[in-house]
Amino acid sequence: MTTVATFKIEHTQYLDASGKPTAKKMPKWAKDADTLKALYRSMARIRQLDTKAYALQRTGKMGTYPAATGQEAIGVGFGSALTADDVLCPYYRGQASMIEHGVTMEEILLYWGGDERGSDFKNAKQDFPIAVPIATQCLHATGVATAMKLRGEKRCVATEIGEGGTSEGDFYEALNVAGIWNLGVMFIINNNQWAISVPSSIQTACETYAQKAIAAGIEAVQVDGNDIIAVREAALNAAEKARNGGGATLIECVSLRLCDHTTADDARRYRPENELDSGWKNEPIIRLRKYMESLGIWDEQQEETMMAEVVAEVQTAVDNYLATPADSPEAMFDYLYEELPSRTQEQREYAINNKVVGGHH
């Protein structure tokens, strides 16, 4: 018996739950006050947006919405590692990374408000719309990266998926082709430990999700997903490597879903007692705040100013969202093909003449 291959999975963390550094050496950027404040602000803003969206749904002004409570460090962390030239293939809980990459909060709200115009991004023009069918976005990312590779562009692609989604064949097929074609993709796993009501413990027998990359021969790392410094540092390295022909990286971000799966869910049906108590002790926003305070770059005063700004910013997005009238019936037809077949044109006329009142949020 001879050993023909060996592997190991590393876990990285820079800040513990109390915001104390646990690593010998901090990334250089993690000492830059402006960078840290921007990341902190983004996380606070996402939490505020999620809170507002939840309220909109509860008051009948929006459909199903998936909050990212407790997982803000993941989306903000890897989203902020992307440049405008990079491409993002998000999943439905990806609002944090999408906003970091230029999607507006108003677009996010429009989308979950049942309006395709929410996927017509003003800024992130090449980014994919939210993928609802789980794991499919991973393959789109490999295709975008293939185009970049064939054209010799120094850009990269990021895609995010939940830990439950890694059970889908598409996830693995994407890893495999990214591996053999050495594609510049960063695969982010948001391991929030739940797939709706299904705990990670019955999703896979793996001790880590990072190790799934071994099946594709690509590099993988596990990070503390509540430590934005760990998430972002891993993402910055993966992005740099990807842009320079170094190929794909899988980053497992271990976190916890501190909210219901979506507004349509009630986690009390299945979540063990006091998982949330310990969960809230680990949440990412307070952790970064404590770290910034320990560096002496953040105080109560700044906190209040920032929160006031963020609340106002989110409120503006909400107001614009609520002020957007529903699209007209012909919009159902005008983006089906570049040119609408004559047969369907008749239906278009008919739909216009049979316009139904309503179409509220």
């Binding site: 159902m332 239906q347 739909a351 179409g359």
Partner: protein, 326 residues
């Protein structure tokens, strides 16, 4: 006997079969502790245990392929696809294996299994949660495709589906999961698969529909009655194999037909029904076959879905046109 909703009838049928046949197993994503995202399996895991009501990993092709393997051993898996929009990863297992195993093995291996899936629009759901793609599976020989339109039929037809010796795709019109209640006795009595139901007898026009749209169709029939027009209403119920005889009989009687469906028109089940009539009773027709359907475009995201789905008004317009046709 308390009146129950369609979703409660599904739950009751599942419980009944789980109780009376130890080979029956319910499986799928979130069917366990959560009881399914629509509560179809609510309480069943508590009652029957984790070996009878099984939360699976998140993979639809796996759910279908695994069910095939279980069924080949004589078990009767009832698998849930959380929404019909997510059945497509399982298309290969369903089309290439589920539908063909009996044929391929000359009857040596059979697959007594059910794939359940909520389908259709009208509940303000996220993208990919509102389509009506029954025609795809209705075109596959070897499958049976059943769509209950109300609580009693949901109970009786799901019992029949679970007891059926062959694979059944059981599509649940989620828009009407909770809008009507029937008094349904938990007596284990099934409804026949492969038969249309004549819901309402009439002489002037035949209205044909299935699933949730049957409700708008019935409202239209009532409005027509007010105008002195007697409409016969047929619930297709089993969309494959199609019970065309019942439909043809009605056509002979009325000579006028309107088919009502939520799905896009082109290549739909309505097309199949119209084609059969055109082939077998074309000269019984006193008017062209009317079709009220979703449009031949992508099911719009929910803010526009009202514009897409057939309304009572659209059914009325088409029915009157058809009745008045000379």
């Amino acid at each position: 006997m308390p009146a129950i909703t369609l979703i409660e009838a599904v739950n009751m049928a599942l419980a009944h079969e789980l109780k009376h046949n130890k080979d029956v197993v319910a499986l799928g994503e979130d069917v366990g502790a959560n009881g399914g995202v629509f509560r179809a399996t609510d309480g069943l895991q508590k009652q029957f245990g984790e070996e009878r009501v099984i939360d699976t990993p998140l993979a639809e092709s796996m759910i279908a392929g695994l069910s095939i393997g279980m069924a080949s051993q004589g078990m009767r898996p009832v698998a849930e696809m959380q929404f019909m929009g997510f059945i497509f990863p399982a298309a290969d297992q369903i089309i290439c294996h589920m539908a063909r195993m009996r044929h391929r093995t000359r009857g040596r291996l059979t697959l007594p299994l059910v794939i359940r899936a909520p389908y259709g629009g009208g509940i303000h759901a996220p993208e990919h949660h509102s389509e009506s793609t029954e025609a795809i599976f209705a075109h596959i020989p070897g499958l049976k495709v059943v769509i209950p339109s109300n609580p009693s039929r949901a109970y009786g037809l799901l019992l029949a589906a679970i007891r059926d010796p062959d694979p059944v795709i059981f599509l649940e019109p989620k828009r009407v999961y909770r809008i009507v209640k029937h008094e349904v006795e938990d007596n284990g009595e099934e409804y026949p698969i492969g038969c249309c139901f004549v819901d309402r007898e009439g002489t002037d026009i035949t209205l044909i529909s299935w699933g949730a749209m049957l409700h708008e169709t019935h409202m239209a029939a009532a409005k027509l009655a007010e105008k002195g027009i007697s409409a016969e209403v047929i619930d297709v119920a089993t969309v494959s194999p199609l019970d065309i005889d019942t439909i043809l009989e009605s056509v002979e009687k009325t000579g006028r037909v309107v088919i009502v469906q939520e799905a896009p028109k082109a290549g739909s089940l309505g097309s199949e029904i119209a084609a059969e009539i055109a082939e077998k009773r074309v000269f019984s027709l006193l008017a062209p076959i009317g079709r009220v359907s979703g449009y031949d475009t992508v099911m719009p995201y929910y803010r526009l879905e009202k514009q897409y789905m057939p309304t009572v008004d659209r059914i009325m317009e088409e029915a009157l046109k058809t009745v008045e046709y000379k």
